[in-house]
């Protein structure tokens, strides 16, 4: 009995030490390999990690790329994780989230032959092999706010938000509030950020839900949930409230949060999937654009609520979107100030 256990352990140890090396063909110039490093969190987060990964997967399908991801557990591993792709001959590395900006810039300097796509990473200076995929979230937020401002009956609308440590969240919030005021100056706005740190602000659905409930009890009849799973909690809670609408964020959350179908009128989208794909395509075409690459934003389809949204609201939204793009109205969001 005892001998056999010792034997098993010895064998196990030997096997472990001997190690198995993995064959990677990414070093070959003919093979296109795209790697993705997530911000802290999972690739299936129903939010920006997931959207970026879907963009990479689309490149895998349509461009025949070998695609792989690494989920980051500790923010201090960003460089390590990028390095794993870089040293295994990956051609394009996608890094998701503003927090990876510094690690991405450093890796780009160390590996000039690899192209980097930094989602949500504003580029202060243009580097040939880094494309910062950024979005005017304030514009999407402005449209969502205008929609909320026109749809509300009670005159009170709410926003349940992740944290103001993340610039895109602030942009969504400011845009939302200003958009609502633009169509309805007297509107009552109640917004809250999650009171915790970065590690919990986007992963606390119960806080999102209870906060949405508190807002609904205060008379809010449109709830904007903008904060990963925290926001999703707010959407699901709103779905259980009679006559209250909710607006999702980042992607068309009709697809990602089916529990919220009974309230989800639209989502303030940033189109990460096509943005990432276009940049990989540009790499293939040899026209990779260094510097900032501004992706599209907009409102998601109304789905089941299409009949509930009056035509004049739709027209007004189209009008506002045109004015925003032309620069005739401003979202009022100014990150510098």
């Amino acid at each position: 009995m005892r001998k056999s256990i010792v034997l098993i352990f010895t064998l196990l140890l030997l096997v472990l030490i001997s190690g198995v090396s993995m064959a990677q063909d990414c070093a070959s110039p003919d093979v296109l390999c795209v790697g993705l490093v997530t911000d802290v969190g999972e690739v299936d987060d129903k939010s920006f990690n997931q959207s970026a990964w879907e963009g990479v997967q689309r490149a895998g399908e349509e461009l025949g790329a070998t695609v792989e991801f690494i989920e980051t557990q500790d923010a201090k591993d960003y460089a390590t994780n990028i390095g794993l792709f870089a040293e295994n001959g990956y051609d394009v590395i996608v890094t998701v989230g503003f927090a990876l900006g510094q690690a991405t810039a450093e890796a780009a300097a160390a590996y000039p032959n690899i192209n980097f796509i930094g989602v949500d990473q504003f580029q202060g200076a243009t580097v040939a092999n880094v494309a910062g995929l950024i979005f005017p979230e304030d514009r999407a937020g402005f449209l969502a706010g205008a929609l909320a401002g026109m749809m509300t009956q009670s005159g009170t609308i709410a926003a349940v938000l992740g944290t103001d440590l993340v610039p895109p969240v602030v942009a969504f919030k400011e845009g939302y509030e200003n958009g609502a005021r633009y169509v309805n100056w007297d509107i009552e706005l109640i917004s809250t950020y999650h009171p915790g740190g970065l590690d919990v602000a986007f992963t606390d659905p119960e806080w999102g839900a209870t906060t949405a409930r508190q807002a609904i009890d205060l008379g809010a009849d449109v709830v904007f949930g903008a904060g990963g799973k925290t926001g999703n909690g707010a959407l699901i809670e709103t779905a259980g409230a009679e006559g209250v609408l909710c607006i999702g964020v980042d992607t068309d959350q009709w697809e990602t949060v089916p529990e919220a179908h009974s309230c989800l009128v639209s989502s303030a989208m940033k189109l990460i999937v096509p943005g990432v794909f276009e940049l990989v395509q540009a790499h293939v075409d040899g026209a990779f654009p260094g510097g900032n690459y501004v992706g599209d934003v907009g409102l998601a389809p109304f789905h089941d609520f299409d009949a509930n949204v009056p035509q004049e609201v739709k027209d007004r939204l189209a009008e506002i979107e045109r004015l925003l793009i032309d620069g005739q109205i401003s979202t009022g969001y100014n990150p510098g100030g």
């Binding site: 129903k46 809250t192 009171p195 119960e206 806080w207 009890d217």
Partner: protein, 338 residues
Amino acid sequence: MSTLATTSKSSWRELLRYSGWIIAGLVVVASIIGYLSNAQVTTSMLASTLRQSTPLILGALCGLLCERTGVVNIGIEGQMLFSAFIGFLANVYTGNLVIAVAAAILAGMLVGGLHAFMAVYLKMDQIIAGTVINILALGLTGFFYTAGLTTEGKLQPINLGPLADLPLVGPVLFNNPPITYMAIILVFVMHYVLFFTQWGLRTRAVGEHPSAADTVGINVNRMRYINVIIAGGIAGLAGGFLTLEAVGSFERAMTNGRGFVALAVMIFGKWTPFGAWGAALLFGFASALQTQLQFIGTIEIPHQFIGMLPYVLTIVVLAGLVGRSRPPAAVGKPYETD
């Protein structure tokens, strides 16, 4: 039987002392609300208070029963997380919320059993046992969770007829989903069981003076096993609250420290059910208040400072009013029969 009588009396005294605090707390709450002076605000804040206190009081009752029987439990967080996950899975695969709640409770009891096995049978240090449970739950639920699982629904409020039509207390107290009601009932049940039944007397005897309990024929380790497993079921209910009643879906690490706050609530309440309930309500109220203050938005204070409110308030009340708390004497010590 004379001991039973005296402890009952002293527990009443304890209750009276706490009711004093509860009244004092209510005065504070009322004055703040008076300041905000709005029926809608009052209702929404009190409803939020009760809701945010529910997982905390359930977690605290779990810890309380464990410690009263002499077993430290810092694994409440893990117990809640694991049972939240199992309850969620049961809901996904059966679509039956009753079965799902039962599954969450059973999962909690299972983890409680593991805790009892480590603490009582293996005589492992109980802080370590709790830590093992916390890390294990985080790892297992994260490892086996696959995204994209969705459920049909969650537990809905049960309207208690005419009671729910009462002004203010109606919507706050009598129109809640089932686990919230259960939590309130459990506070009273726990108080009754601990201080007015033979089982409670034995439980406390085992927690305070196990060798004396042994001498009068109480099976110390058996008492501990059973109590820790039952307590696990209560933590399981807290987990079920999160996935089956409050959110309706599971996320990795979604307990977000609530199990640790529950631990603090238990100590705050001096290891008594009503004390813990008062502490949980205080914490829930402070959380609701911070949300309300952000809603108002006119106060130019960075939201991080408003967000600290529940924690600062807890420390101030603890240091200023509650003071020293004494746990059961034999807590943390495995019972050795020589």
